[in-house]
């Protein structure tokens, strides 16, 4: 029933050591990123894509017993932090993996693929 399978939307959560941000912003990394973006546009799968400011700019909010608690920083303090995300709409998980593997940060960080409801 491949013909009637609707495309699936996936969230790609791109995370890496924030110190390595220049590895994407400059030089070869930049070229790889641009090639990745061009590939997504060619496939016509990109629904959203954003880069994030570093995790030190994050604020985490919790409500406990009616109180709004604000903390400085991300909800999890780990070396690798989410630096960007993309929403893609493609055929299946194999295509999503192929796309995720093309992101330059996958070489030193990782990309988590989550199907959207």
């Amino acid at each position: 029933m491949d013909t009637m399978s609707p495309p699936i939307r996936y969230l790609l959560l791109i995370s890496a050591d924030e110190e390595r941000e220049p590895d994407i912003a400059d030089g070869d990394g930049r070229r790889r990123f641009d090639a990745w973006m061009a590939d997504l546009e060619r496939r016509g799968v990109l629904r959203a894509h954003e880069g994030l400011h570093p995790s030190r700019t994050a604020t985490t909010v919790r409500v406990r017993d009616g109180d709004v608690l604000r903390t400085d920083g991300p909800f999890m303090e780990t070396k690798d932090q989410i630096g960007g995300f993309a929403v893609i709409e493609c055929a299946d998980l194999d295509e999503a993996v192929e796309i995720a593997a093309g992101h330059p940060a996958a070489r030193f960080g990782q990309v988590e693929i989550r199907p959207l409801r």
Partner: protein
Amino acid sequence: MEDVTQANGAGDHAGPADHVGQANGAGAHAGHANSAETNAAPAEGAGADVGAAVAAAFRDEWGRVVATLIAWAGDWDLAEESAADAFAAALETWPRDGVPDRPGAWLTTTARRRALDRLRRAKTGDAKLRLLAATAGEGSGGSPVGRPDEPPGGPRERLDDDRLRLLYTCCHPALAFEAQVALALRTLTGLTTAEIARAFLVPEATMAKRLVRAKGKIRAAAIPYRVPPPAELPERTNAVLGVVYLLFNEGYGATSGDGLTRPELTREGLRLAALVTELLPGEPEPLGLLALLRLHDARAATRTSMDGELVPLEEQDRGRWDRPAIAGAVALLQRALTRERPGPYQLQAMIAACHAVATRPEDTDWPRIVRLYDQLLEHQPTPVVRLNRAVAVAMADGPAAGLAQVDAVAAELVGYPLLPATRADLLRRAGDHAAAATQYRAALAAAGNDGERRYLARRLAELTSG
């Protein structure tokens, strides 16, 4: 990781498994006496012949019906439920109407109709229902080839076998290995969740959750239902080979409480292994696995005595081994070895071949077997392979040398049933009867089935009465 994940190494039936008379190399002791009957229990009064026909259809057709239904409707749970419905319907109608000429076709058609009924009740969208309804009739399925009513066709047709597609999908790398194996056993062979849980040595609830999660992930993450493209085949095939080997072992070693094996599982394992070799003609490891399975299968008839006691390798009647099958398997293995890319299955097949070509037990080339285990350890540095190697060392250099090797690995094999059995066997050979008896008692307590227990009890009786 559970015991079953050691299948690649532990499934070596030419290792301690045979020397001590234990059949189940994978350490996966499933009781299969009540095999598929949860899904299709022959009803009381249905008539023995019809009951047997349904049971036979279940063995032969379950995997095909499920695979075809998944291909058609794209829904795993629906496929399994509808297949179970179809077998239940067979139990009702076959006694009245007779067994159909082509049971597989009847079951597939019935399963499709039941699936449509289920979808209508679930108020599935009109478009999908219309499309499915249009393809529900016999002979117009969503599956292009490999329908159950078709005899095996040429290589091209068999490459498209729905079951192979199902197998590769079950072995998708986005699923954990334990989930891959469990899913393949459930969907391809119809083993019940309880049986798979026993094979994996986990509680049934754990296994049920694992299967639900795996199917949930396939659905939500849209893991595609297909044989992967050529570039990905070698990587994906490793997982498939592991599953096929486990499937074979389940049939070969799953001697249940009353001494039965499950030849349909070994058949399915042999068939799938052959299919993978056709799909990957350039790859040596599938050939190695196929050779290994055929070597094991060639002496299957001699592994159990008339009264169900396991017969260790050295006591098997070699005159009853299937010599043409052994020659064919050795030729396959040689074909694999010409590629000069050895791997764990080729090495295990080479070890099995050492046993199979020895006319008498004393003709066995044990030093060569030790060297082959050394090579196998480079690929699979597992304690079970080291235990197998220790037995070969004992046969080559004497039981004391073997026991020292067993002691060196024992701490990593606590709770492994073949550990006391192996020790007992080597101590008996060394002439230390008191220590051997203690180990036979421990092995008896851990043994998985009657065949093993009878063998161990006989050895124990020999030691303590003499």
